[in-house]
Every structure is written in structure tokens, then in C-alpha cells.
């Protein structure tokens, strides 16, 4: 059984990350943006895991756990913010959340 080369994982990771970036930049729905950020985080996780496996080292795996923990915390705080904004603005459109301007 042949081993899948690490570059395959990296390409997949890059594609997922690019999708996340495109989602953050072009989507207006704040929930979608949020999900795109999660996607980017997981793309990075994938890269970490792939490298950890390829080099037979545990460091990458440890990082992944950290990222997952931070992502969970971020999801909790972020969703709370989203709820508050939605209460205030009656909208999920991120374009309307620009009151920090100037």
C-alpha cells in the first residue's frame, strides 16, 4: 500500500484555506464569515497533522489541540457577539456593522 504523499494534504489544505479566505472577503452574512474562519482554522490543522505524520513528530499534533481549543473559545465568544449585533442591528449583514468608522 502506497503512502499518500504529503503534498496532497498540503494542496487540500491550501484549497480549503483559500475557500475560507474567499468566504471571509466576499460573503456578507456574518454567520457565513464565521464558518469560513472555522474552515481556515481547520485547513491549517490539516496541514499541521500532515506534517506531524510525515516527520513523525508530535509537535504539530499538540498545536492542533491548541487551535481546536482556541477555536472553540472563539466560537463561544463570537457567536455571543453575533447575537448581540443581530439584536442591535436587526440584520446579519456585516456591511451595516461599520459604526467604528472614522
Amino acid at each position: 500500500m502506497s503512502v499518500i504523499p504529503v503534498s496532497y494534504y498540503l494542496v487540500l489544505s491550501a484549497v480549503l484555506f483559500g475557500l475560507g479566505v474567499v468566504g471571509v472577503v466576499f460573503k456578507r452574512n456574518i454567520i457565513t464569515i464565521f464558518m469560513s474562519i472555522e474552515l481556515m482554522l481547520n485547513a491549517v490543522n490539516l496541514a499541521f497533522v500532515a506534517f506531524a505524520r510525515a516527520h513523525n513528530q508530535l509537535d504539530g499534533l499538540v498545536f492542533v489541540f491548541f487551535v481546536i481549543v482556541v477555536a472553540a473559545a472563539e466560537a463561544a465568544v463570537g457567536l455571543a457577539i453575533v447575537i448581540m449585533i443581530t439584536h442591535n442591528r436587526q440584520s446579519l449583514n456585516v456591511e451595516r456593522v461599520n459604526f467604528l468608522k472614522f
Partner: protein, 668 residues
């Protein structure tokens, strides 16, 4: 030796008075302001009297007595001490300044009684006395210059005392700016003096001068240059041709100010300076000639203007310019003592004339035009008599103060070692004109029919605090000249004898000039045994100056009392020349066209519109608008739109990655 050891007391008293009244006087009662103002100056006068008592005990080798208080400026070899100096010349000046100042202060309590800013007036007046004393007491040119500028400042403040009146403000500025022109030359002269002598102390300068040979009329060197530069300062301060124009305008100030500053003391500072620097001037014959010519020309020229003025104070102003010309003429022909003598007698009689004119103006309720006066002698007898005495004194009628001093000056101009017949004739004609315009003033004001409306003007004699100073000054206008009286019968001229050491100590050595020294010092010494005192006396009181004075008197009497319709006809028949003189030779207009208008044009259209608005504002506004333009572009980045921030982050990350790859690509 209290005052001699503490000379500063004399000048500190008026300064204290000025500070107290100026800082706290606003809410004080007039009596409090009066007692501080008069008290400080008269205490200063008493200090001077005490000083004279102590001074009399000094031996000649202790003179000049110098009080050195502290080192004021020290930079390399340049060292200026704050030091004061006492010698005979200072004593005379101190007496005149403090005495006349005290009288003017007393007079002002009556004259200014109904004015706003009472405390301000007395504060300025005290400050003036302080600076004047600094000028007189200074033992080096720099301390003297401080006083010199300080009196100019006080003059400016007091001319513009009624600062709501446009003409007063302009007159103040005119005085300040015009004298500044002279002061520029004066400062250059001081620098050159330091460069030449290595010190600015009078005694040091005179000692190094004593080692220097005299310059001649054919050869003008650095001494002549210094002397002329200093004299240009005196031209500005003492209102001589061509910078005299500020003094007549200075009459916008209150009359006591005209009496004290613009007649008795400040304007004579130039004469004092020339007399003080006599070792320098005596070694620079060309400068002496310049001084004499400027003095004689001014004496004659401004007397002609005085002939036709109708404002009582303007007549006196031109008269002051003219009399200052006599003082310079005296100094210029080597008779420094005569110049200072005239300075002293002039301080008394011209101060009196101004104060009496103020009393007339007071009596007439503010009227200054002599054409609207007349017949006042019965209603204001004290003013009339004192003013008449002063007029006799200035006209040079024998027995009165002005006779002695003016006679000495003309004598020196006509027969001294520096004699100059052309200048003597100019001075003589000027003396005749002086007599004419002064008696014209008296006759127009006090004689003839009354040319004002009785119902509108309530003529009244001034209060005691105004008339008493008049009477005191009248006393001195008669007797201040009598120090020189024995000279007429071949005896000693005590005034010249007193000043002799100042003018003889550093007089240049040489055949022709030794004579000058003896003239400057004590002309009377040789005449101990005159052949016939009675003949000398007759000769003196029937000399040319007296004859022209009497002619002036008679002419004025003929024109303004005997045939009062004649002056109008004369003016009609000589219309053109009358116009020119009446308009003061259009000098103000000429200066305006030559200097003021171009200066204003350049200031307004070149300096303001082009340089200031174009260049300076352009640079400032330009840098501001560049910053604002950049800012307004850059602030669009701060859209507040989270997605645009995210795009920038991505762009940055991509750019960074590309950069990294590029670097890696290059290194591998």
C-alpha cells in the same frame, strides 16, 4: 557721605513711585497717588541737595566720583558695569531734572485733576524721571543709553496718554520712530567707540582719548565718525534738522508732559551727551562744525516757522526746537559750558512757558488757538505775569536768565576760537525772530480785544497747585542766569567756573585749541581787573543780541497791539511765502511723500501681499494642505468595513508570502 556712597537712591525713589502708582494706584484716592508721585520726586530732589553738600567736600582728584554697583554684562573683553558717576556736569543736570520735575508733578495735580487714568499719568511721569536720572548719572555709554531709550519710551507713552485720540497715537508713534532713526546711528557710534577705545566707561575713554592726536578739518578719521554718529542720535532725541518733525506733533500730549519732557529735560539729553563727550568732539573739528551748523540752522529755521503758528503750544514747540539749536551751536563752537548754561536757563523759562500756556488753556476751557484768545491779562494775572517774565527771559532782555546764556553762546560763535560769522549771523537773526514770535504770543493771548464768547468760555485763574510752580519757575527765569552776571563787569562767570574741570580736564593740547579749552572752562578768569566795569556792562547790554531782541519786541508790539489789522494785510501781500511758512515749509508733506508713502507702499504691496501672503502664508498653508490631502486619501482605508480590513490582511499576507518566496528563490 550717605548719598555719595548710595547714588542709586536718587534714581530708585522715582522708580519706586512709578511702581507703586502703576501697580496699585488704580483704586487709590488721588491724594494717595499725589503724595507718592510728588513725594518720590521731591525726596529725590532733596537727595540731590544733600549730594551737593557732600560733593562740596570732595577734593578735585576724587572726581569724577564713580559708584560701581555690579557687573552687568561680561562677554570676553566686553565688560559693562552698572556704574554711576558724579561730576560738576552731572550735578547741574541732576538739579535741573529733579527740581523741574518736582514742580511739574505739583502742577500736574491741578492740571490733570479731572482726567481719567490719573494714576497712569503719574506712574509714567515718575518712570520718566527715573530714566532721565539714569541717563544723567550713567558712568558709561551703555547705562546712559538705557536712560536714553527709557525716556524715549516714556515720551511715547505720555504723548499718547489720551490713547483714544487718533492724533495722539500717531504723534506718539511719530516721536518713537523718528527718534529711533537717530538711535540707530547712536548704537553704531557706541559700537565704534568700543572698538576704538576698548571700553565704554567715560573716564577710560577720555584717558585713551588724551593719548590721541586731534583730527583736523582736512582729515576726518575714526574720532570724527564716532562723534558724528553719536551726534545723529542727538539730532533725533533733541529734535534738530532733519529729524525735528516729531517734537511739534508731540504737543498732543498733556501740557505738563510738554513742559517736562519736550522742553525742559528729555530733549536736552542730546546737548548733555555732546557736552559729556566733549573730549571726543573737541578732537573732531569736522564733527564740531557739523554740530554748530546743524544747531544754527535749526535755531534760525524753526524760529521762522514759529512766527506764523496759531496754536499756542505749537509756537512753544518750534521755539523749543530753535532753542535746542542754540545749545548745539554753543557746543559746536566749543562753548560747552554756555550750551549747558542755556540748557539750564531754558529748562526754567521754557518749562514755565509751557506750564503757563497750560494754565491759559485750562482757563480757556481747552482752547489752544491764539486767534480765539486775547485780553486775558486782567482775568488771569498770575499766569500773565509769569508768562511775561518767561518771555522776557527767552527773548534775551538784559537781566533775565535767557539773556546771559544766549549772549554767551552768540559771543562764542562770534568771537571764540571756533568763531564762524555766518553761524553767528544766523543765530542773531534767530534771536530777533525768537523775540518777535514770543511777544506775538503774549500780545495775541493777553492783550487786545477778547476774541471769544463770554457766554461759552468762563475764564478763571488756575488753582494754587498750578500757580505756585509758575511763580517759583518765574523766580528762576529771572535769577538763574545771574551766576554769569559778574562776567559782564569783568568778573568771574561762576557757572563756567564751576563746570571748568569737566571741560578742561581732557581738552586737546595744541596752540589753537588750548584757547578753546580756556573758553570752555573759564572765560572770566583773565578778566579779574577789567579796565572799566561800567563800560563793559554798557557794552554787554547794548550788544547785537539785545538790539535784535528789542527790535523783535517793538515789531510784535507794532503789528499786534498798535496796528492789529496789519498782519492780515501783510499775509495777503506776501501770499506765497506766507503759505509756505504757515505750512511749515511742507516738510511733513515732503517727508510723507519721500519716506512714509513709499514705505507704506512697499509694506502693503510687496511685503504684505507678496512676501507675507504669497511666500510665508504659501509655505505654511501649502504644507498644511499637503498633509490634509494625504490624510484624506489615507483615511479611506479606515472604512469601518470588516471585510475590507480582511481583504487588506489577505493582500498583506499574500504579498508577504510572495516576498518570502522571491527571497528564497533568489537565495537558492
Amino acid at each position: 557721605m550717605l548719598i555719595l556712597n548710595h547714588l542709586w537712591i536718587i534714581m530708585a525713589l522715582p522708580l519706586l513711585g512709578a511702581a507703586l502708582n502703576g501697580l496699585f494706584g488704580k483704586n487709590w484716592a488721588k491724594s494717595a497717588i499725589n503724595s507718592i508721585a510728588i513725594g518720590s520726586v521731591s525726596l529725590s530732589f532733596l537727595a540731590v541737595l544733600e549730594l551737593i553738600r557732600e560733593f562740596a567736600r570732595l577734593t578735585p582728584d576724587q572726581l569724577p566720583w564713580i559708584g560701581n554697583y555690579f557687573t552687568w554684562i561680561s562677554a570676553g573683553s566686553f565688560r559693562i558695569d552698572f556704574s554711576l558717576q558724579i561730576d560738576q556736569l552731572t550735578i547741574v543736570m541732576l538739579l535741573v531734572v529733579t527740581f523741574v520735575s518736582s514742580l511739574v508733578h505739583i502742577y500736574s495735580t491741578g492740571y490733570m485733576a479731572h482726567e481719567d487714568g490719573y494714576y497712569r499719568f503719574f506712574s509714567y511721569l515718575n518712570l520718566f524721571v527715573f530714566f532721565m536720572l539714569t541717563l544723567v548719572l550713567g558712568a558709561n555709554l551703555i547705562v546712559m543709553f538705557v536712560g536714553w531709550e527709557g525716556v524715549g519710551l516714556c515720551s511715547y507713552l505720555l504723548i499718547g496718554f489720551w490713547f483714544l485720540k487718533q492724533s495722539a497715537i500717531s504723534a506718539g508713534k511719530k516721536a518713537f520712530i523718528t527718534t529711533r532713526l537717530g538711535d540707530y546711528a547712536f548704537t553704531v557710534g557706541i559700537l565704534l567707540a568700543f572698538w576704538t577705545f576698548g571700553s565704554l566707561n567715560f573716564t577710560d575713554m577720555f584717558k585713551s582719548l588724551a593719548q590721541m592726536p586731534s583730527e583736523s578739518l582736512a582729515h576726518a578719521g575714526v574720532l570724527t565718525t564716532i562723534a558724528i554718529l553719536l551726534f545723529i542720535g542727538a539730532i533725533g532725541k533733541s529734535a534738530q534738522i532733519p529729524l525735528y518733525v516729531w517734537l511739534p506733533d508731540a504737543m498732543e500730549g498733556p501740557t505738563p508732559v510738554s513742559a517736562l519732557i519736550h522742553a525742559a529735560t528729555m530733549v536736552t539729553a542730546g546737548v548733555y551727551m555732546v557736552a559729556r563727550m566733549n573730549p571726543l568732539f573737541s578732537r573732531a573739528p569736522i564733527a564740531m562744525l557739523v554740530v554748530a551748523i546743524v544747531g544754527a540752522l535749526t535755531a534760525f529755521y524753526s524760529a521762522t516757522i514759529g512766527l506764523l503758528q496759531t496754536d499756542i503750544k505749537k509756537v512753544l514747540a518750534y521755539s523749543t526746537v530753535s532753542q535746542l539749536g542754540y545749545m548745539f551751536l554753543g557746543c559746536g563752537v566749543g562753548a560747552y559750558a554756555a550750551g549747558i548754561f542755556h540748557l539750564m536757563t531754558h529748562a526754567f523759562f521754557k518749562g514755565l512757558l509751557f506750564l503757563a500756556a497750560g494754565s491759559v488753556i485750562h482757563a480757556m476751557g481747552g482752547e489752544q488757538d491764539m486767534r480765539n484768545m486775547g485780553g486775558l491779562r486782567k482775568q488771569i494775572p498770575i499766569t500773565y505775569w509769569t508768562m511775561f517774565i518767561a518771555t522776557l527771559a527767552i527773548a534775551g532782555i538784559p537781566g533775565f536768565a535767557g539773556f546771559f546764556s544766549k549772549d554767551e553762546i552768540l559771543d562764542a560763535a562770534g568771537s571764540g576760537p571756533y568763531k564762524n560769522i555766518a553761524l553767528w549771523i544766523l543765530g542773531l537773526i534767530g534771536a530777533g525772530l525768537t523775540s518777535f514770535y514770543m511777544f506775538r504770543l503774549v500780545f495775541l493771548t493777553f492783550f487786545g480785544r477778547e476774541r471769544f464768547d463770554h457766554h461759552k468760555v468762563h475764564v478763571h485763574e488756575s488753582p494754587k497747585n498750578m500757580t505756585v510752580p509758575l511763580m517759583v519757575l518765574a523766580f528762576f527765569s529771572i535769577f538763574a542766569g545771574w551766576f554769569a552776571a559778574p562776567h559782564l563787569v569783568g568778573g568771574t562767570d561762576y557757572f563756567e567756573h564751576f563746570l571748568h574741570p569737566v571741560f578742561a580736564a581732557y581738552a586737546p593740547q595744541g596752540a589753537g585749541v588750548e584757547q578753546a579749552a580756556s573758553l570752555a572752562g573759564s572765560a572770566g578768569e583773565s578778566g579779574g581787573i577789567a579796565p572799566n566795569p561800567a563800560m563793559e556792562l554798557v557794552h554787554a547790554i547794548t550788544g547785537p543780541p539785545v538790539i535784535v531782541a528789542v527790535i523783535g519786541l517793538l515789531l510784535a508790539w507794532w503789528l499786534y497791539i498798535r496796528r492789529p489789522e496789519l498782519p492780515g494785510k501783510l499775509a495777503e501781500s506776501m501770499r506765497t511765502s506766507y503759505r509756505v511758512v504757515y505750512n511749515k515749509y511742507y516738510i511733513d508733506e515732503i517727508y510723507n511723500a519721500l519716506f512714509v508713502a513709499p514705505l507704506l507702499f512697499i509694506s502693503r504691496y510687496v511685503l504684505w501681499r507678496v512676501v507675507d501672503e504669497g511666500l510665508i502664508d504659501g509655505v505654511v498653508n501649502g504644507s498644511a494642505s499637503v498633509a490634509r490631502g494625504t490624510g484624506s486619501r489615507l483615511r479611506e482605508l479606515q472604512s469601518g468595513n470588516a471585510r475590507s480590513y480582511a481583504s487588506w490582511v489577505v493582500l498583506g499576507a499574500v504579498g508577504f508570502a510572495v516576498l518570502l518566496l522571491a527571497i528564497l528563490g533568489v537565495t537558492h
